[in-house]
Symmetry: C2
Subunit: 320 residues, 2 copies
């Protein structure tokens, strides 16, 4: 796999921040996104043009979109739930809109307060509006690898929803493991089937680490030919069904593994870790990122006994 390109898409300022109790100031959001723009992402999901009442954490969507310094080569995308959101997003000159609905009826009703058919009709209208512009359209399918209320989701159901959106001419689909229910063999089978049936669609995998399998699932997706992944800086992003559990796959951990395995992500891991280190100050709590605590695998330690300030204490037989 040496040198094979993998596209990394950052979602922390949307999928991450929308779950945070503490409001991140607009200037801080803009500064963080500008830092991220320097990291080498393929795409950044900047914010969400939802109702400020529904998601107050992202009530400053216009100000953020207007405030950031956009870099050539990065796709700046935003989440859009409806026509009103699409109009707001288009007025800010976004590169892409990201639409969302769930593959499972229960989750769609719980999360979006309507049936899947109502969601589809609404998104079809949004697609009609956006297609009159040059702005790209991605659809994120939630619960594509399991629903926390319904359980297993049939692969054919996922492919069926992909088909309906492909027929409307969207350019990309994201398969979301919304609550971390995916497992490797399932991921491999679904990804292979989706690539075979929709070779022209830009296909993204969106994993959560709720049950620790996000990087293992990534390996399975890579093996099935997937080359595009959502990830969240610091591992931000929660799962309301598992309080205290880890959220989205952590960007720096994903990039760290991919680069070690010889993939070309284009992402500057040092810059990423510096940006991630700012998060606790912005959101008021620690982040799930293990890599931020442990450092990269070749961030070496001195032998104890030499100048040991700040070095870990060693005890005999403490390690295996």
């Amino acid at each position: 796999m040496t040198g094979k390109r993998v596209h990394i898409q950052e979602v922390a300022t949307r999928d991450g921040f929308q779950n945070e109790a503490q409001f991140v100031e607009t200037d801080a959001k803009i500064a963080l996104i500008d830092d991220l723009s320097a990291c080498g992402y393929a795409k950044i999901e900047v914010t969400s043009f939802t109702s400020p009442k529904a998601i107050p954490a992202l009530r400053d969507a216009e100000a953020v979109m207007h405030g950031i310094a956009r870099r050539k080569g990065i796709v700046y995308t935003v989440l859009v739930p409806n026509i009103r959101g699409a109009e707001r997003a288009l007025s800010c000159g976004v590169d892409e809109v990201n639409l969302v609905m769930s593959v499972s009826e229960s989750h769609n009703r719980t999360n979006l307060r309507m049936s899947r058919e109502q969601s589809f009709a609404q998104l079809r209208d949004v697609i009609g509006v956006v297609k009159q512009t040059s702005v790209a359209i991605n659809v994120s399918l939630s619960t594509a690898m399991g629903c926390p209320m319904e359980g297993d989701i049939a692969q054919e159901a996922v492919l069926g929803w992909m088909q309906r959106f492909a027929d409307l001419g969207v350019h990309g689909v994201t398969l979301c493991d919304t609550t971390g229910m995916a497992f490797p063999s399932q991921v491999g089978a679904l990804c292979a089937a989706a690539r075979k049936r929709f070779p022209a669609l830009e296909l993204t995998l969106h994993f959560h680490n709720t049950r620790g399998m996000a990087l293992a699932n990534t390996l399975a997706a890579l093996d099935a030919g997937i080359d595009r992944f959502d990830a969240s800086l610091g591992g931000l992003g929660g799962c309301p069904y598992a309080p205290g559990a880890t959220g989205n796959v952590c960007t720096e951990e994903l990039v760290h593994m991919l680069e070690l395995d010889g993939y070309d992500t284009g992402v500057d891991l040092s810059a990423l870790l510096s940006a991630s280190a700012l998060l606790p100050g912005l959101i008021g709590h620690d982040v799930p990122s293990q890599l931020l605590k442990a450092g990269r695998r070749l961030d070496l330690h001195a032998m104890p006994g030499a100048a040991s300030e700040g070095r870990p204490e060693q005890r005999a037989f403490d390690i295996n």
Copy 2:
């Protein structure tokens, strides 16, 4: 891979407890190990016959070994550093002794306070003593996938140390990713080489989740034909080089993934989760296990709006 047998070896009461500040009472250790014996493990590393001064957390090794109710079919192994430890272990009737040294000189000197050649000479003597009995001998090679002080470890160096121990007639070798430096392609290559060169050795992989890659590395090892893994209940076990970072791969997360992928671990995941839930009470703090927080992937949730006591709050657009 449906139905392929994978052997799970529990190390929490040795590799986990030795890192804990709070002493776990002997009766509690025995009760936990008896619970674990009912879970269906292939092997349990019960304790360590090291100096009580070096590792006070395991100063009750004899009492624990004598106190547990041993089940047929489970190998009860213990860590042994030297002849004195071996004699203590043999007097307790262990099934196996587990010897340990590092592949890297720096780590061996730091962790074991002697050179690798000194360690080898000492372990050779231990092997000589144990071989006069019917007790099995395993050697755990620390830092086999990277040393926190020296960095990369050449594959040939690992195979060389395996060869020296194979020549002494040990029955098994464990390759330990002591500080979580392994990555999937490295694991795959090392495991394939080790299996090819030592087809008769019982080969175990011992991963840490320090940088989030433990389950991804497990997939890579499985692909290379490995069928035996160490793991630690709750993810107990620290890394002194990464304070606050996750420790050993979490047994329940490993079993959860393997069973979903169709492997036969023989382990009762429900019983495992019940045992893991006891750990915080024993050690005085939360454990890294994500699965303990999130539940199994098909532990479903009710739709909100019905009787919702204890159910997660739902907000519109909060999940992807």
